[in-house]
Symmetry: C2
Subunit: 384 residues, 2 copies
C-alpha cells in the first residue's frame, strides 16, 4: 500500500527543468542569487552531502581545508564591518539567533513596519513582543529615526524599560528604501538599545559596513544577494554582544548553541567562497547599479507608471504603481493575468502572476540591453 502511493509520484522527481531558465528574470528575489561560474563549479566539486567536513576540526567555521576559517574569521568581519562573523542558514536564521540569544520570552523588540515577514516571524518564534515603527505611507513609505525614538519611548512608558533590541531593514523588500540607518542607530543607542541591520537586499550588492552605520548586529542572505546556492546567510556581531550570541555549549565545548554546532554544512558555503571575489568586486561598482535602476525607473515613468519609495531611487529593488496596466486588465481577455502572460510570451519573468496595479521588480545585474527589452515589452503591451 505504502509503496503504491510513493511509487506513483516517483517519476516526476528525477529530471525537473527550471522553466524560467532563459528568461529575463526581474524578480527581486532572484537577481542577486544568480550563481557565478565559479559557484557553479563549486557545486559540482562540493555537491555531496557533508563534503566540506572531510577535515573538520570540530566546528564548521574552523575548517581550514577548504579555507572556511579564513573566509569566516578574516574576510567576512572586514567585509561586514564587525568584530565577529559566522555563516548561518540564512538571514532569517541569523535574526532568530540574535533575538533568541539576546532576549527572554516576553521582552520587547522594535521593528520597522517595512520589515520582511521573517523579522516578525523570528520575533514571534523568540516569543517577543513587537512594536512597529510606522512608515509614512504612499508614495514614499519612509521610515524615520524619529519613528524609532517614538517607539522606544512608548515601550518605556508601557513597560518601564526600553526594548531589548531594535531592527532596521536596509533596504526593505517592497520599496527598496534605504532609511537613515546611522541616525536610527544613534537614536537606539541613546536608549542603550542594540540595533540589528537586516541587509538581506544590500550585503553582496552594495557596500555596507556595520561599524560605519553604527549597527551592533548585521545579517545578510547568501541566496538573495551574494550569488550563493541557498539556504545560506551571514551574521555579524560586535564584540560587546558576541559572547552572548555565540555562547558555547556547556556539554560540547566547541559548539555554539545558537548555531546548533554548525550551520551551512555543505556545498552552500562553498558557493559563497567561490562567488565572493566577484561579489566583493560588484559591491565596488554599486553606483552603476543605481544609475541603471534610475534609468529604468525614468523609462517606466515615461510609459505612465509611477515609482514609489525613495526618489531619486538608491537601490535596484523598486515598486511601481501602474494605473495604465490596471485599467487594461479590466477589459483584457486574461483579466488580471494578462500582464504576466504578455511578459511570459516575451520571455520576461518576475512580476507575480495576477498583479497589474502595484508590483515590485529589480534591475540588479541586468545589462542595459536586457532592461531595454523589458522597457520595450511594456511599451508594446501598453500601446498595442
Amino acid at each position: 500500500m505504502i509503496n503504491v502511493t510513493i511509487e506513483q509520484h516517483l517519476q516526476k522527481f528525477e529530471c525537473i527543468e527550471r522553466s524560467t531558465n532563459g528568461t529575463i528574470n526581474i524578480d527581486p528575489l532572484q537577481r542577486g542569487g544568480i550563481l557565478t561560474d565559479e559557484a557553479r563549479a563549486a557545486l559540482m566539486e562540493w555537491g555531496d552531502g557533508y563534503s566540506v567536513c572531510d577535515f573538520c576540526p570540530g566546528v564548521l567555521d574552523k575548517i581550514k581545508t577548504p579555507p572556511i576559517y579564513d573566509f569566516v574569521h578574516k574576510v567576512l568581519p572586514e567585509f561586514l564591518g564587525v568584530d565577529q562573523a559566522r555563516v548561518t542558514n540564512g538571514a532569517r536564521e541569523s535574526k532568530f539567533a540574535i533575538m533568541h540569544s539576546m532576549a527572554q520570552e516576553g521582552d520587547w523588540i522594535v521593528l520597522d513596519q517595512s520589515a520582511h515577514y521573517t523579522s516578525y516571524v523570528a520575533a514571534q518564534r523568540a516569543r517577543l513582543n513587537v512594536k512597529a515603527v510606522p512608515h509614512s505611507g504612499s508614495p514614499d513609505y519612509r521610515i524615520t529615526p524619529q519613528g524609532y525614538a517614538d517607539a522606544i519611548q512608548e515601550i518605556i512608558k508601557e513597560t518601564g524599560k526600553p526594548p531589548v533590541l531594535a531592527l532596521v531593514t536596509y533596504p526593505d523588500g517592497n520599496y527598496g528604501n534605504l532609511p537613515d540607518a546611522k541616525q536610527i542607530a544613534a537614536v537606539c543607542h541613546e536608549h542603550e538599545v542594540p540595533l540589528i541591520l537586516n541587509g538581506a537586499y544590500s550585503i553582496g550588492r552594495m557596500p555596507v559596513n556595520a561599524k560605519d552605520l553604527g549597527a551592533d548586529f548585521i545579517v545578510g542572505s547568501g541566496h538573495k544577494s551574494m550569488a550563493c546556492s541557498g539556504p545560506i546567510g551571514v551574521l555579524g556581531v560586535s564584540e560587546q554582544y558576541s559572547s552572548k550570541v555565540f555562547e558555547k555549549s556547556p556539554s560540547h565545548k566547541v559548539k555554539e548553541i545558537e548555531l546548533l554546532g554548525c550551520t551551512a554544512r555543505g556545498a552552500t558555503i562553498m558557493t559563497m567562497l567561490a562567488s565572493f571575489p566577484k561579489v566583493f568586486e560588484r559591491t565596488q561598482h554599486w553606483d552603476r547599479e543605481v544609475d541603471s535602476a534610475r534609468w529604468f525607473s525614468s523609462q517606466l515613468e515615461s510609459l505612465g507608471l509611477i515609482q514609489m519609495g525613495d526618489r531619486p531611487h538608491n537601490h535596484d529593488l523598486m515598486f511601481f504603481e501602474a494605473p495604465v496596466l490596471y485599467e487594461m486588465s479590466q477589459t483584457a481577455k486574461d483579466g488580471r493575468y494578462f500582464l504576466y502572460k504578455e511578459l511570459k510570451a516575451r520571455k520576461i519573468h518576475g512580476i507575480k502572476a495576477g498583479l497589474t496595479k502595484f508590483f515590485k521588480l529589480s534591475t540588479f545585474g541586468l545589462p542595459r540591453e536586457d532592461l531595454t527589452v523589458v522597457v520595450d515589452a511594456l511599451d508594446e503591451i501598453i500601446h498595442s
Copy 2:
C-alpha cells in the same frame, strides 16, 4: 585598509578542489550523502539562490512548480510513516523545532547517552533540562527501554511530573546501534511522554516508519543519508502534535513560526527530490547493506580488530577497537598519525587523522571490491 585585508585572501576562494575526490571514503558522515547523478543534474539546473521560488504561492512546501508540494505532502508522510511532514535545514534544526514548540524553558527531556551532540545542543538552545539514559558501556553500548523507564521515573520523583519529551537515536552515530525503539516508545507512552526518533543515520538508508515504531516525531538528514546536497533535513509529526509544531504566525497567516516561514529554500530541496527515487529504492535493499557490513566486520576481526556495539551488527556504521594498530603507533615514524597516512597513500579516507585505538567507519553503498581494497590495505599495514 579594509580592501587590503580582503583582497589578500580572494584568490584562494574561487577554484577549490576537493582533495578526497577519488578516494574510497569510509567516513560515516559521507557515505549516505553522496549525490546521485540526478541530484547532480538538479544542482546545475536549480543552483541559483532562490530558484525554487519562481512560482511560490507563499510558502515552500506549497510550491507546485517544481513539485515540492507532492513530495512534502504526499510522498514524505508515507515514506516516514507520519501524518504531517516538512523539510527543514537538517536533522538538528528539526529537533530544535520540535523541542522549542513542544516545551517551555526549564522543562525536562530524556535523551539517550549515545545521542548525537546536536540533540544535546538543541535541548540547550530550547533551554531544557536533560536527563540521559545511560548506555551499558563497552563493548555493547546498549540503550534499553528500562533505561527510559528509570529516567522518566527519576524526573517524576524530582519534579512531580514526567518529562515533556523523550528522544531515541536510531541508530547512534558512534556504534551504529539500533535500540528497541518500539519498546522504548511503549515505555514513554505509558507515561504520556511523546517520543522523537532521530533517524539521521537511518532515514534514506533503511526502511524506517514512525507509526510502526510508535514514534510521535521523526527527524532525518538529507545530507547524511538521503543523497542530498546540504543542509537539508526532514521532519515528521503525528496529527496529535502537528498544530503545535507547525503553528502559524498570527501576523502572516500562511507562515509556520518554527520554520521561520520557509526552510530549505534553494537547490537543496531539488537534490532531495531528484535523489528520492533512488533513495527509496535503496532502502528496499537494506539487507544487502547489513550483509556487507557484517562481512566487512568479520574481515577486520580476522585481522585482530574488535567490533563494538550490536553483534551481529545491523547497520553500516561500525565502531572498532584496534589494539594491534594502537601498538604499532607507539613505534611508528608518524606516531598516532601513521594509520591515517598509510591509508591516505592507498587512497582511503575517513578514519580521523590521529586515531588508531578506536575509530568508526561506514560501509554504506560501497561495492565489495572497494571494501576488499580497505581490508587488504589494513592487512598490508598490519602485516608489513
